[in-house]
């Protein structure tokens, strides 16, 4: 029953929206707003298995690599900065400076630094989605309960053990928030990283459709990006469940009606 309810809840709104889009756009003659049926048609034609192998999977690979690196870097740096006030004072302005860089200027800089291979694209993804993880980790580390810190200090829980059992765990709800923020950002940055210095990939393909005025195909690419977003967020939720079981139990459990 509960499962059924969850499925219904998850699908209800999308079904309504898709139906509205389908009928609302039916017979559309607008060049940039084709009907959904045209888009779905284009989707079937475009995103074949070969296309996935040639364009989508390499992109997804870079996306995952970039995302994971960003999470690791963000958490590591965040713990460092969140723990030591002086490191934070020293680095925060520089980081804020870098954080404001728009990708259209960022990508050239990355190319300058590391060429035009996969490495650059991964770099762009990392650079773009490290921030939510970093900021959230910093605040999570800074905001942990003092009594827990004191407990660790008196019982001399130090070093790695402290990192693992206090710092990271206490910050984990915020780290997860940051990681969740970063996930769709990684997809967006995957596309952006393929704007320049690319000759293959999902983002590249979508942009080619756009430039080639293949608007239904472009829309189908957007659709695919959204679907990838859903799939990744489902995977993310599975990971979160096991990681933050204690948290959700403590927050909600059976305490509410």
């Amino acid at each position: 029953m509960r499962f059924l309810r969850r499925v219904l809840l998850a699908l209800g709104l999308p079904v309504v929206l898709v139906a509205a889009w389908w009928f609302g756009s039916a017979g559309s003659q607008d060049f940039y707003w084709p009907s959904l049926s045209t888009i779905v048609d284009a989707f079937g034609r475009t995103w074949t298995w070969e296309m996935f192998q040639e364009q989508v999977f390499p992109s997804l690979w870079r996306l995952l690599a970039g995302y994971l690196i960003a999470v690791v870097v963000g958490v590591a740096l965040g713990v460092l900065i969140g723990t030591y006030g002086s490191v934070r004072a020293l680095l925060e302005p520089v980081l804020e400076f870098l954080r404001a860089f728009p990708p259209p200027v960022l990508v050239p800089a990355a190319i300058l630094l590391s060429g035009i291979g996969d490495r650059t694209k991964i770099l762009v993804i990392v650079f773009g989605c490290v921030w939510p993880v970093l900021l959230n980790t910093i605040e999570g580390v800074r905001g942990r309960d003092e009594v827990l810190s004191d407990t660790c200090r008196t019982y001399r829980v130090t070093g790695l053990l402290r990192l693992r059992h206090l710092v990271l765990r206490a910050a984990s709800p915020q780290i997860v928030t940051g990681a969740r923020q970063a996930l769709p950002l990684a997809i967006i940055l995957m596309v952006i990283s393929e704007i320049m210095a690319a000759n293959e990939g999902l983002g590249f393909t979508v942009l080619q459709f756009q430039r080639g005025f293949q608007i239904p195909e472009m829309w189908s690419g957007v659709l695919l990006l959204g679907l990838i977003g859903i799939v990744l967020s489902l995977l993310f939720r599975v990971a979160e469940r096991s990681l933050l079981g204690w948290y959700h139990g403590q927050r909600a459990g059976q305490r509410e009606f």
Partner: protein, 275 residues
Amino acid sequence: MVAVAARTSRVTGRRFRSVTLGVLGLLGFALVLEVAPRVGIVPIDFAPPTSQILVTLGEQLGQPSFWTALLRTLLTWANGLLIAVVAGTVVGVLLGSLPVLRAATATTVEFLRPIPSVALIPLVIVLYGPTVRSTLVLVVYAAFWQMLIQVVHGVVDVDPVARDTARSFRLGPWGTVRYVIWPSALPYVMTGLRLAAAVALILTITGELVIGSPGLGKEIDNAQQSNAVRIVYALIVVTGILGVLINVLIRQVERRVLAWHPATRAETVEGVGVR
């Protein structure tokens, strides 16, 4: 009196120290960027050293067109951020407090979030033309999600005992949001604000750059098309400085509204001691 003065000087002393460190950090960064092109780590023609960038920046500061561009960018940024923050907060509090609503919208949200603004650009232009409006739409679209997710997670983070207290004293939906949920979600919200502010700035510049609505981004595009490398970098530095200033501003607000929070009070109360 003496004690108050001592406390004030201690606080300003600490503030002074952190500002000094921050400036040091920026100077170190500038130094790296000065030296790297000079010793040939990056080609000097395409990554001018800091000193040259600063000279160009100085020239830019003397031009009224620069200031109008800056002003326009800031206006778009501020408008977009305001809309995104208000909308993100309202929707976030709703979704955060009502699990059913959250479950019902989850799929849609996860579908919409990864859609890149570059893909949206032609569609937005068809709707609003190559105007500030279009840029604004992109800014709001991108910054909204950042805010939304932070607020939702912040609302979920409310201490269950605090929530129960609110319920048993029948604070009502508005009272609960105003006095319990909002303050306890604030740390997340402030992070969300910082994230959204930067994203809004990025999208403002990007939008201007690609769409051609007036502002710094358009100046950057123009400089890029003209191969005016130093101007490009000077304008990027301006973007970066804006980022730093915006953050200083938000931190200031944060110190005020989060004075009670462990993260903030640890810095101001001597009591917590040997951290």
